[in-house]
Structures are given as C-alpha cells and as structure tokens.
Symmetry: C2
C-alpha cells in the first residue's frame, strides 16, 4: 500500500517540502484557501504528477480533465448552476471536498528544483491568491534479500513482511553463534564488535540506497531505528570503507557498531547523488518460547521544525528479518564426521569403531581421556544441527544441560569459525537423565495425513504423567526445540527406562521404498519368539554371554523360565507399544514401516522405582553411517557357531541393502547401561531442502 | 483420526483386554502364531467387529470375504499356488503381512463379556493352535463445550484442537480474575480453593462421561493429567455432590481441588454403568507474550502390568481450551457507568458532569477525595474491558502501572463478584507518563484493505525513536495488549506532548454512514484558520480566557502575532499529521472520516525538552456518552456573545446528530494539563460480536 502523507499549504506562502519517491502527498485545498474562494487550479513542473479527487476517495474519483482549458464538472453535491463560466489556461476544480494528490517519479538533481502552484478563485472564477510548493524529491530504499536468492535486490515490495513457503518472501538472519577466533572461544554474538572481517559472512547484508541532490535540505536527516524488544535480538554494524582505527576503536574500524540495545536509533549520513551504504545485521537470539524470530529495522526521514522542537518523521521504510531455526539431522543423511571417546578401558571398542568408520568412508574424531575426563557418553553431551540462510550456513552444536566429564567439549573443541554453539540452561536444578541427548532424535522426512514434514520430526522422551515425580526432559530445552517449529517434536514415554532415552528402544535406518526409511523398535516379544523357536529347535542349552569376561553365561532355557524377566518384558513391551502407536500416528507410519528387533530388558535392582535396562547389548542402540550399521554385539546364544541374535538382525536388515557390523561394547559400554549409539556422535550433511520453503 | 493400539496375542494363551469404544485394536497375527503356521481364521462375539488387511494399509486392503466359508485370496506377494484348498466354517487368511483390526460399538455390561479367537493353520490348513482374546469395552469421553453454544456436548470430534472463526471450534476458558468475596479483595485465582458456589460460574464445565461394567478389571485405572506448563495456567476442581467438610477441608467440600501445579496428575474414580462426572476448569493467566492461551487436559486409561512395575497408558483422550482475551470497548458502545473524582476544588466541574451524565441516562459514580487521595485523573489509572465466553462474561479492569492517589481504586473499589481485575507490573522502575491510560484507546470496528477488525484496534502512544531517551508505554503493558490479538494495537507518536497521551489529540465519536464513526483530531491549522477568519471579520480584539479566574485574557490578534506559538503549532501539526497518516493507513480511513478540531498547543516552559500542552481547553479530550459529547469548555473569543470555538465545534458535530455540552474544567483540570476525558472514565456495554468468531 502506498504511503500517503498529509501536506499543508497556505495561500500567499511558499512551502518547501521533501518528497520521497514512491509515496504520495495529499493536499486538502480547502485548508489553505483564502476566504470566499470556491475554485482552484494547479500548475506544476513537468516531472510533478498530480490528480484531483474527492475527499472520500472510496466513493467518487474525479478523472483528470480530457483537455487543458476545459472545466471539470464539480462533484454532484455542488449545485450545477454554479458551473464555472470562464475559460482558464488550466482546468479548474471546485475546492469543497477535493483532495490533490502529488507524486514524482524520480529524484531531484538540486534542492527545490520542482514546483507546484495552486491558484484560488472566487465564485466568479476571478483569481484571488496562490499557494506555492517547492519540491525536493529523494529516493530512499532500505534493502534486504527478501526473495531469498542470496542477493540484496532493490526495494522489494515484500521486504516489510515475512511469509513461509516457496512462494513466500522475507529476509533471513542467522544467530551469530560461531566463533571467528581460535582463542577465547565464546560465540561471536557475545562481543559488541567485529573482530575479524570474516565475521560479516555470518550476518545478513542490508543496503541503504539513496538518490537525490548533493545534500538534503537544511535540518533534514535520516535515522535508522529498532524497537527495544528487537534491540535484544539483533545488532547492526555499518561498513565504512577505509575507516582507520583511532585510539578508542574496539574491533575493526571499518565495521563500527551502528545499532544495538544501547543505541536503538542512529543517524545515517546522507551522501548525495546515487549512493549505497552497507550494513550488516547480526542475530543474537535463537527462536524460543517468547521469541518468534521476527524483527523489524526502520529507516526514517526526519523533518526539522525549528531549533527548539524535535524533528518529526515524514517517511519510514522498514525491512523484516526472521531468525533461522536450529535444525537437526536424521540418520538417513550422509555422515561427515564421527565422534567417540578414548577411555582407559575401551581399546577393543575403539579399534572396532575405527575399522567400521573407515569402511564407511567417514572421518573419525577421538576425544582423548584427558579432554573427556573419563566421560564416554558423547551422544548424551550434545546434538549436532545446523542453521541455514540463502547467504550462509554452518553446523551448530546444541549443548545439553547434562554436564559431566564432557561438559566443555562442545564449547572448547567444537565451537570455532563456521561452527556454532547454543545451549539452554534450566532455571532450577531440575536436570535428570532424560536431559541427555541420547533422549533426543529426529525422524527422516515424513508425510502425515497430507501434512509434509520435509525436515522430519524431533523425537524426545518424557515421563508419562500417570504419577507425580516422573522424570522429563527439562522445560527450557523442550521449549527451545518446539520453538524452532520446522521439526515439530513428538514426546515419547521413556521414564520406564532406568536411563530413560529414546535411543534405548528406537532408531531410524535408510531403506528403499517410498518412505526411504524403516523405524527399528526394540521388541521383547520378538526376542521371546526367537528364543522359543531356538528352544523348540533343540537349542535350549545354547548360552548367552559366552566368552564375555566376568559375565555368567545363561542358557535359552533359563531365560524362558525366568518369570520375573517375563513380567518385566511384558511391561517393557506395553510401554514400547504405546510409543509405537504414537509414532505410527505422528509419523504416518504403517506396520510395514516398522521392524521389531529382538531385545530383552531386565529390571534395575538398585532403583527406588523398578526401571528397565537392556538385558543383553541393545542392538537398536546402533550407529548409522549411510548403509553401514554399527550394532552392539549382542553375545546371544550360538547355533552352529553363529550368534542367533546377529543372524536374526542380519536377516531383518540385509534385505534392505544394509550392512551389519557388530561391535563389542559389552564391558566398556553395555555394562554401564549404554551402547554404541550412546558412546558415539555423528555430524551429518544437512538437508538439501530449505526450511523457509516449508508451508506453515 | 482413529486411535489405534497394538495388541499382542499368543497362541495357546487367553489375553484379557480393555477396549475403549471408538478406538481400534491392531493384532499382527504372525507375532502370536505358532511355528509353521501359514493361515488363520477369526471368530468373534456378535458385538465384536473385525477386518483383515495388509500390514501396509496404504497399499492394499483385503476386503472382508463375501460369504463365510469362502477363502480370501492372499495378498499378491504370496504365490498363488499356495491358495488354500480346504473349506472352513470361517474364511481363512494368509498370516504373512496381515493385520487384524478389532472394534466394538458399545460398552460391555460385564467384564470380559465379549470374545474373539484366532485359529492358526499349517500350510495344509490343518488347525494347529488358537489364541483367545477376552474383551471388556468401555466408553470414555472427556467433554467440553467445543462448539461454543454454552452446553457440553458429547465427544465432539474437534474437542482436541482449537480453531478461530464462525466455522471454528474449541472450548473457551476465562481467567478467574473476579472476586466472589466482598472482604479480602483479591482475584479468586489467587486461592487454591472454591470459597463460594457462585465461583464455578466463572469456570468452564468439563464432563467425564463413562459407560461400562460395574467396575474396571482389576488394576485398571483412569487418571487426568496436565503438563507442567499448563499447570501454571489452569486449575481443575471436581464436583463431589453432597461431600461434607472434614477437619482438613479448605473451601467448599463439594468442589475439592483436583489438578494444579502441585498435582499435575490425579486418579479419577470409575463409577460403572453410565456415569457423568463434573469438573470445573479455572484459568489463571491472561494471554501474554509467552502464553498463547492454549491448554490441554488429558485423560488416560492405565493398564496394570504387575505389582512391581508402573501402569502403562493404553488410551488417552484430550480436550483443548483457549483462554479468552481481554477486550477493550470503544466510544461508540453504549455507556453503562461514568466515573469521576470529587476533589476539594472541582465542585463546578462535578455539578456540570452530574447534569451531563444524567441527561445521557447513565449512572454516575463519584470517587470521594478520601478514596482518591486527591488524584483526579481517573482515566489514567485504569482501562475498562471485559472477557467473554459462551457460558459467562464480565467486565475486567486493567490497572495501569501509573500509581498515584487512585492506585488502590481498581482493586479495592471495582474488583468484586463478576467484576475482574488484571494488571501488569513493569520489571524495572521504567514507568513514565505514557503508561497512564489516557494514552490507551480503541477504535470502533474497521475494515482495512479487506481485513476485518470487528472489535476495532487498540491505539497507544510511544516515543518515535528518532533519538534515544524517548518515553514510551512500558513493554510489559504493550506486550500484554499485543498478546490479546483480537484488537491488534497501533502505536502512535505521543512523546512530543508533555503528558504524552493519545487522548490529547484524538478521539472517536459515533456518526451515521457506512463506518459508523468519525475520528476527531486536534488541528492547530484549523485553529489558525478560524482565528484568521475572526481577525479578518473584525474580531481581532475578541478575547480568549475571558471570565476565567486568574487567567489573563489574550486577544485573537495577540494569538496570531505570537511567532513562537506559531512555530510550536507547526511542530504540533506535523506530529499530528504523522499520526493522521498512520491512522488513515492502519484504520483504513479517508479524509472524510476525519474531522479537524481547532486546537492550539503551547510549549511547556519548565521541561528539559520542549514539549507541548494544550493552549486553551483541549476539546478533543471529551467524554462520549452515546450521542452526547461532554466537551471541555474552551473559553474562546466571543463573537456576538457566543464563543467562536464552541460555535465551530457545534457546527462540525451537530450535523452528525451529536449533541455538544461544554463543561468548565479550566481551573480544576485544564490548568493541571488534563481535561474532561482525563478526569473521567466510562464502563460500556460490550460488543455483540463474539471474539472467537474472528477469522485469524
């Protein structure tokens, strides 16, 4: 919608006005008319366009007269006998109820180089007085990449709003959460300055384009300004080419801070002629419960009144940005880097992992025991994700509130140039085992009842609130995940498990077919079915845990005759079934999309409340690198020299083109109530799909 | 979408299951099948319905067989030569890739009164084993008024979501912000109990309807539960007819507290047969920046596993409420009650107001000097609004952060039965004059570029951020107003005024025509035009302020020759013009909808920054009671014994059917930089339009 501005003129006076190209000036001729005037005519420089219409522009417009010198019929409410009788050089209009609209199509070369005059006439069309307007036209456009092609176009009509989807529009801002420095590692956004020129790559370019006379008329000025709320979520830096540092300069002199929470408004110098001034906008805050990510930057042209009174705004341009969400990467995306910890007791595991990762063509990064301080659960400490914009994208690690030996790893070892960091700190000390990110996963892309989730959906575990005192993922992290919007989270029931993580009973693997994946679910039922089959086939004396140091082997017959184990597993199965039904509904899955993996659980004796842990290595707790699966070696009963559990796993998965590698994590991870997945982490390629193309 | 639940059966076993009517049980026959079985058939009680379809229900459904005894063709992936050859009593199906879905259409009379059995056959269709299911069906429905007709209907399919508009759905909740007591006046929501039975009128009825056998099978139970976040925004009370208070009872024994932040989950007793249990849901928190008003209440059926392990949920029903917004009432709504203060020096004003209010057929409430503690600015202390739901509505006063003599008036004098109270307290001491509610108004209903605002739009004043240090309405109040959504606020520039309120330069009056109102704007231009006309007509020596005690009269000539006054008024006009352009754009107005009222401003000398106050009584600062306008008496220059400003005002407004009454507020209000509007407040009828019918 065109910006209209009220302009007041007075008969016998010359009014100088600055006009902004693209807006409209509205004059009410009756306001500046001398007493007893009834008609008016308008004369203007060739570059000044004007129309005359009714004050009630919604009802009747008076078309411009067809020929000069021919009088325009007045609006119908004026008696027709009042029709003017004398022919003038310009068409004349009835004053009453008329509005004069003025526009100009290009900037002025010099101040006041365009003119418009209004002549007033009495009822006999005798000229009484004149009001004169001197016009100075300027072009002002605050520009951003509203069409999301990586280039800041000129004056996009949609730059002032934000809309999702492939036909949407609106500029995008990244949270500047990486760190350009290799020392004093803190996210760049914590500094109120730019210390490295490369830092501007993480910000959004904003260009102020102006065109007009060499300088603005005396007293006029431009200011850029943001609201108090937006001041807490962004900073704006200005590019001053060739600026040299002075004594007080902090950061790079060429990129001085222009706007932030301490300076919500700053004057923008006007350069004259055709000028472009560059600004860089830095995001400070991720989407969250109280922040939808939309921010507005305004640019106003101020008009002086007199020395004693403040300037008044006469034109405001605005641009809108949205902060990019943090996005998780599901197992089906290609792996880039695998992380494991080296501890005093995991050399076997490490050796097998090295071979497995190498086979998968990935880079393996081993966190030393010195850095991890004995903490091997690198899955739990952090979740890899990324942020994306048309101009820049980089990985961002979400640091969990779980703070054990690896507490400093994300900040000290990962944060760096083009590697961002974000965390959420619970207000109270209400962190539980469910806050470890083994309890946080994301599905592959799905379609549910016609609704597309091209970035998948987040899966996390909570207490089912059937009783007070259940553990849940802490609210600040859940709020953060939900606020990202693009991977709408699903809450599963995991408090029945001692550790309480979703990765104890589920994972996703790539697979051919229209969905492109299968959901693997731990299944005590499948395990009992397998063991009963073994017993029936005469393998009741085959032993689990054979060859595991310090672990007493157990026969298939013993497993099947253990009633309390059966009870516990019926419970585990019912909990998994609840989650299965939720996942089917929320991910739009059918049974064929789900593979039941034979896993048994056992009660954890020491806990106040009986909760479940895996009885033998929990094969769904695997690492997925493309088509290669690194699976906890289950140490199941052997039939003809081959582990029946491994054989079952291969038969379930190899038909899908997947390759199973069994990794011995028994003493180093399984006995600590974790497995391969808990002890590893994977940074993956990000989605080709752009989040702003989502239909929301 | 139908809730599906995975049911596991085992050959040779009988499984007892509780079924909830309206859901579906899914059995994977292959899971419970004995080894080497290839086919199955199903037999069931007449009230048990079942279908057999492919595991991949998205691809092929197997229709139920046309006649009993005729075998169903297996899914195409089974080789056709495997077709069964023997005729059975029931149709038999291929086990592989089959799913059996079970439903029942009504509740059981007794536990396990319905049965279903699955027979398994080998490849020669010889029966091997059987799995039996005993079914107990219950009907469970947690019900609310999702269709918004004031009645809690049964099992509305939309009860679990919320949608705006006349074709929308979703239950509504009020914040219980009134006070049933006449002593210890605090909003009811601050009590964790119901002290008066009338309090339940302010809550939303929720009904749990159940039907089934006399009791649930051993160990099954129902629980109602809410999330931690929702626990901070609602409470649920249960109605226990005839319950008697005991020693520990707080509040009414018939309405015990059932759920709140301290008890997020509670067991619901099951009554057997057809039962209805009533609950009352109380809203605790208004919509705000961090609260969109949506809350969910869940009801789960829990299944016992064994003594040692917790129950598992097997069915969850849920209902969604949205908290009603706080709604302001514009001038065009009929007045109900007018508030003014009695002070030691305002008897003239009070007498004239009494007559004016009486003439308008309204009730006048006078706040004594004792209660107001000398504070006469009752407009500034509070804003009247209301909350609305299909079952209840009442006025709610928004108490401003401005805390002067009237600080306790809203809480002590207004809060009461069916009269609510809400306030927002700024975190820091950043309250300015712009936080008084003379700076808060609401427009009549408008349509802007095709978008309807049937409840109008809020108007409030802020600093135009052209320089740091400007005053603005405090963020917590702005956030609150914005969060109500239904009257999307417009921010105007008011910091140019000493007091800084929107009511210093604008008001709305009812008027005939398609919009139903006019916007009145203070206009220095109109004033100068009027005074120049007077001078031209020979009234240059007519005096303003004649007859005002202690005020020196000033002639029209003196006004017109005062250059600094002219400068100040050009500034004032440019500020008002900025606001005029914003209001035209944001309210979809044309010039004809706006009336310019002749008002002059003067600089306030003492202020550090020159800011404007009204030069003579500010006529737009009026009270609007239907078609009667109570206007500050301007004490303008007299022409033929009549005040030219009053005459102009009448000529502008009487043609619209409005009646002007001029009220002398000069010494009692005008000299204190306020006028009639600042010194009064009006509680009005609310909109006939229901906010939930908005299209958002």
């Amino acid at each position: 919608m065109i910006q209209s501005r009220t302009l007041r003129v007075d008969y016998g006076m010359t009014t100088s006005v600055v006009y902004v190209v693209g807006t409209e000036l509205n004059v009410n001729p009756s306001r500046g008319a001398p007493p007893s005037s009834k008609f008016f005519s308008v004369k203007a420089s060739p570059n000044v366009n004007f129309t005359v219409h009714s004050v009630d522009s919604e009802i009747d417009m008076i078309p411009p007269p067809p020929l000069p010198g021919i009088c325009t019929p007045p609006p119908s409410r004026i008696p027709l006998r009042r029709l003017p009788r004398i022919i003038h050089l310009h068409p004349i209009y009835v004053i009453e109820n008329s509005v004069l609209s003025i526009t100009m199509s290009s900037a002025s070369e010099e101040e006041n180089d365009s003119k418009l005059s209004i002549s007033y006439y009495d009822e006999n069309q005798v000229k009484l007085e004149e009001a004169v307007v001197h016009l100075t036209a300027v072009e002002i456009s605050l520009d951003v990449d509203a069409d999301r092609d990586g280039v800041v176009e000129k004056n996009n009509p949609n730059k002032g709003s934000w809309k999702w989807g492939p036909n949407g529009h609106g500029a995008i801002l990244l949270v500047n959460c990486d760190c350009e420095r290799t020392y004093w590692k803190r996210p760049d956004l914590e500094q109120r300055l730019i210390s490295e020129a490369s830092d501007i790559e993480d910000m959004s370019l904003m260009v102020l384009r102006t065109r007009g006379p060499a300088k603005l008329p005396e007293g006029y000025k431009l200011t850029m300004h943001i609201s108090q709320g937006d001041g807490e979520t962004i900073r704006v830096y200005r590019f001053k080419k060739g600026a040299k540092p002075d004594h007080d300069t902090e950061g790079l002199a060429e990129y001085p801070l222009f706007l932030d929470s301490a300076a919500l408004s700053s004057e923008v110098p006007y350069s004259g002629g055709a000028a472009e001034m560059k600004f860089y906008v830095e995001g400070l805050k991720f989407l969250d419960k109280d922040f939808d990510g939309l921010i507005t930057i305004n640019l106003s042209l101020l008009k002086p009144i007199s020395k004693d009174v403040p300037e008044t705004p006469i034109f405001t341009d605005k641009v809108v940005f949205k902060v990019a969400p943090w996005i998780m990467t599901p197992n089906i995306l290609q792996p880039e880097e695998v992380f494991v910890c080296s501890t005093s007791d995991n050399s076997t595991f490490l050796e097998q992992m090295k071979n497995f990762v190498q086979k998968s063509g990935c880079h393996l990064r081993i966190c030393s025991n010195y850095v991890s301080r004995g903490d091997r659960w690198i899955q739990d400490e952090m979740e890899f994700g990324y942020i994306d914009s048309p101009h820049q994208q980089f990985p961002v690690v979400l640091d969990s509130p779980r703070n054990r030996g690896l507490v400093d790893f994300p900040l000290h070892e990962l944060l760096g140039p083009d590697f961002g960091y974000v965390t959420r700190v619970p207000g109270r000390k209400d962190v539980s085992s469910l806050d470890s990110f083994g309890n946080l996963d994301v599905s592959p892309p799905v379609t549910v009842n016609g609704k597309n989730y091209p970035l998948g959906r987040i899966v996390l575990g909570v207490a089912f609130p059937t009783a007070t005192g259940g553990r849940s993922m802490t609210k600040v992290v859940q709020d953060f995940l939900r606020a990202q919007k693009v991977q709408e989270p699903i809450a599963l029931f995991t408090d029945w498990l001692l550790v309480g993580h979703v990765d104890e009973f589920m994972t996703f693997v790539p697979a051919p077919g229209r969905k492109g994946f299968r959901l693997l679910l731990a299944s005590p039922d499948a395990a009992y079915k397998l063991f009963k089959g073994l017993q029936k086939d005469g393998h009741g004396q085959a032993k689990l845990f054979e060859g595991v140091e310090g672990e007493k082997p157990v026969t298939v017959d013993e497993v099947l005759s253990n009633d309390s184990l059966l009870t516990q597993n019926k419970y585990a199965q019912s909990c998994i079934d609840w989650n299965r039904d939720v996942l089917k509904r929320e991910l739009g899955l059918v049974d064929e999309d789900i593979i039941d993996v034979p896993i048994l659980f056992r009660p954890w004796e020491d806990a106040a409340k009986p909760r479940a842990v895996a009885y033998y290595p929990d094969m769904v707790n695997m690492i997925v690198l493309g088509k290669n699966l690194g699976i906890p070696k289950p140490f199941g009963p052997k039939v003809n020299g081959r582990c029946a559990l491994e054989a079952e796993m291969c038969s379930l998965l190899e038909g899908l083109g997947l390759s199973c590698t069994f990794i011995d994590d028994f003493t180093s991870y399984h006995q600590g109530q974790g497995e391969v997945h808990c002890g590893s982490n994977v940074r993956r390629q990000w989605f080709a799909f752009k989040w702003w193309n989502l239909e929301m």
